[in-house]
């Protein structure tokens, strides 16, 4: 226990935690959307994130990105990367739904069967990037870590006493909050969002009222995929590395975050992600970074013991009901 180290740098740890937590939160949205509507843990979502990072890598090397470009070209890399990553991740999520989940939904299979299918799908996606493509094209595919160009050079733009907030922190945090607000408004205000909420509340009634369930389900997979795509761009900007199994740890954290906030609840995913990020940052300074996963899970268990449906409860269906 190193309480002094935590107290002395609490501001910096909070900022770092919120920074990482924002990425968790964006990925957590994908879990929470699918769970809210289908009551299904989409374990393949972590691989959707991984595909996004490879899409970013692909488009950046196609455009000839290098370390530390000028501001206009950096902006262009970010915008194009965002579009491509969102498209690739959304497309992957949609494909997974069509190929793997739809046949099971027709049979109304129990959740365990979905789980195993999801695990199978994520193994297939990992192996495609970690092995099959490497067989034909070589690098950057394969089992090793791949470096990416460092588009944004870390630079402390805001200096408070004891806290440095870099431009990366600002980009990630602002983008995550913007995407969250956008998604929240989309679900709560638009016609499509109403369809999503209707199916989440009661699939049968929604079908009777003329909501096309298949379309709603495709929509939530695509939305979740887009959020994961944005997260993968932010990840690439912040850490500039990827790997065929990068999705695994992030997916695990994001899923924990979704459960922590109350799975099925969009605002819960944001809160859960940020809380998880901060808890991890604190615990790695309090103990050491080896124990941050343990702390994260212990916090999860404690929260679930007192609030069995997470911090904000499950409420995609019940929101504004």
């Amino acid at each position: 226990m190193n309480i002094d180290a935590l107290i002395d740098h609490i501001g910096q740890h909070t900022v770092n935690g919120l920074f990482k937590g924002s990425i968790y939160a964006l990925v957590a949205l994908g879990y929470t959307l699918v769970y809210g509507v289908l009551k299904l843990i989409n374990f393949a979502h972590s691989e959707v994130f991984m595909v996004g990072t490879f899409a970013v890598l692909g488009v950046w090397s196609f455009m000839g990105a290098t370390d530390g470009p000028t501001l206009p070209s950096a902006l262009m890399f970010i915008v194009v990367g965002l579009l491509i990553a969102a498209a690739a991740a959304g497309g992957t999520a949609l494909l997974v739904e069509r190929i793997a989940y739809r046949p099971l939904r027709r049979k109304n299979a129990p959740s365990l069967v979905f789980l195993i299918t999801a695990i199978g799908v994520s193994l297939v996606l990992q192996e495609i990037f970690g092995f099959v493509l490497a067989k034909f094209f070589g690098r950057p595919f394969g089992r090793l870590v791949v470096g990416m160009p460092n588009i944004v050079v870390s630079d402390p733009v805001i200096r408070l006493p004891g806290v440095d907030i870099t431009n990366k922190h600002l980009i990630v945090f602002a983008a995550a909050v913007l995407m969250m607000i956008g998604l929240d408004q989309f679900i709560n205000r638009t016609r499509y969002g109403r369809g999503v909420r209707a199916v989440a509340q009661s699939p049968d009634t929604a079908a009777l009222m003329g909501v096309n369930q298949d379309r709603v389900i495709m929509l939530i997979f695509v939305l979740g995929g887009i959020m994961a795509g944005v997260a993968s761009l932010l990840w690439s900007v912040s850490f500039a590395v990827t790997k065929f199994d990068i999705g695994f740890v992030i997916g695990l954290k994001a899923f924990t975050a979704a459960v922590l906030g109350g799975i099925g609840n969009l605002r819960g995913a944001l809160l859960g992600g940020l809380v998880l990020g901060v808890v991890e940052a604190y615990s790695s300074s309090l103990f050491n970074s080896n124990w941050e996963d343990v702390t994260a899970f212990v916090v999860l268990v404690v929260v679930l013991m007192f609030r069995p449906t997470g911090l904000l409860g499950e409420s995609l269906g019940r929101a504004r009901a």
Partner: protein, 392 residues
């Protein structure tokens, strides 16, 4: 006819064959059943020599059976060694089946119990382990002293059962999907604790895990060089546990588990104390996982935290679900297939994870109830399919 239809057709014929076999089995008289079981046991114990029978100093090769062995090429794995792993994985699958298949609780952290079993024999049985060192200093015991292998069995089983209860107590009140993430976290926590604590030697692992006692001709019977005694030990333990679980499954406890799996609220209303029985399922499943981990650690003689990665939990759940969750024969077949096939197809090593992923998806889409489903479970699934919402 396209490929999917053809696959479905083959599967239907396979299912028909299984059903007729099962009918025939149920019509047999007791004497015949006993004879078949005995023949099966003899066959299981003769597996190390499958297709290559040494009679009178000469190896007789039986072509079809011989090709099933994994050591027909020089780089293949030792066949009795593969059999040993098959049997400890069958033990794991049977234990996990109590939790997942019978009680219907989704446990994604089963490797945690496997690890606790393995670490209890290592920590108490190995003379070099820090725990044994501490005990020696505490009680002034002689150098080289360690807890005997046989005494490690109750320690391992007690520790795994206690950890099952500790995990279950706060979490079994949660709904199914939450249980999945919490158990997954548990499996990770066990590994991380083993990796970062000084009492488990952290990343260096523990050497000198003791083998079971016994000598033959002056040599220790259970030595690393000869896998056949190990296979006999593992298969015997597995058979004993299978029989025990079978008795349990057909008792009041087993019926309570089924009731909880099918409808927990209804079970509770009709007087089944569901929390207590779920806790029992967790503890018993954990004990089987621990026993298996103990055999694993003794066989290897050395364990380290990386032996207990999260992927194993996923592999174990896949064994149960692919084989046919809820059916003991099914989960055993699932465990054997998922252990044996990767070894048999070692030349295609690089493609194996990919093939495994594809196989999981294909089997689940074609046969969500598993390859050899329990009849009750597949009826439940048929009911569910009928209840499927109209346009999903």
């Amino acid at each position: 006819m396209n490929a999917a239809d053809r696959l479905r057709d083959i599967d239907k014929r396979r299912q028909g064959f299984l059903n007729s076999m099962s009918d025939r089995w149920h019509r047999l008289s007791f004497g015949w059943r006993l004879a078949v079981i005995l023949a099966g046991v003899v066959f299981v114990y003769s597996l190390p020599w499958l297709g290559r029978y040494p009679i009178g100093g000469h190896n007789y090769l039986v072509p079809g059976l011989y090709n099933l062995r994994t050591d027909t090429t020089p780089e293949g794995s030792n066949f009795p060694y593969v059999l040993f792993f098959c049997s400890i994985y069958v033990l794991i699958a049977v234990g996990l089946n109590v939790v997942v298949g019978l009680a219907g609780l989704l446990d994604l952290g089963y490797v945690g119990f496997f690890a606790i079993g393995a670490y209890s024999v290592a920590l108490f049985g190995a003379p070099t382990s820090p725990v044994v060192g501490m005990l020696r200093n505490q009680f002034g015991l002689p150098q080289g002293w360690a807890v005997a292998w046989a005494a490690c069995i109750p320690i391992a089983i007690a520790l795994t059962m206690i950890s099952g209860v500790i995990l279950g107590w706060p979490t079994l009140r949660l709904r199914g999907d939450y249980l999945a993430i919490v158990t997954l976290g548990f499996g990770e926590i066990i590994r991380i604790v083993a990796r970062n604590s000084s009492f488990t030697n952290a990343n260096r692992g523990i050497f000198g895990v003791p083998p079971p006692p016994g000598t033959s001709g002056g040599e220790p019977l259970f030595n690393p060089g000869d896998p056949i005694p190990w296979y006999f030990l593992a298969i015997s333990v597995t058979i004993i546990f299978i029989l025990a679980v079978r008795v349990l499954e057909r008792s009041r406890v087993g019926r309570a588990w089924l009731a909880i799996r099918e409808d927990e609220d209804a079970a509770e209303i009709t007087g089944v104390p569901s929390f207590r029985f779920k806790l029992w399922a967790f503890a018993i499943g954990a004990a089987l996982g621990g026993a298996s981990g103990m055999l694993f650690a003794s066989r290897l003689g050395f364990i380290e935290p990386n032996n207990f990665q999260l992927n194993f939990s996923i592999l174990f759940v896949s064994m149960v679900v692919i084989g046919g969750s809820g059916n003991m024969v099914g989960v055993a077949v699932g465990a054997i297939l998922l252990t044996y096939l990767p070894e048999r197809f070692r030349p295609f090593a690089d493609w194996r994870p990919f093939a495994f992923g594809v196989a999981l998806v294909v089997v689940m889409i074609l046969r969500p109830q598993g390859l050899i489903p329990s009849s009750r479970r597949s009826r439940e699934l048929e009911d569910r399919a009928k209840e499927a919402p109209a346009n999903v």
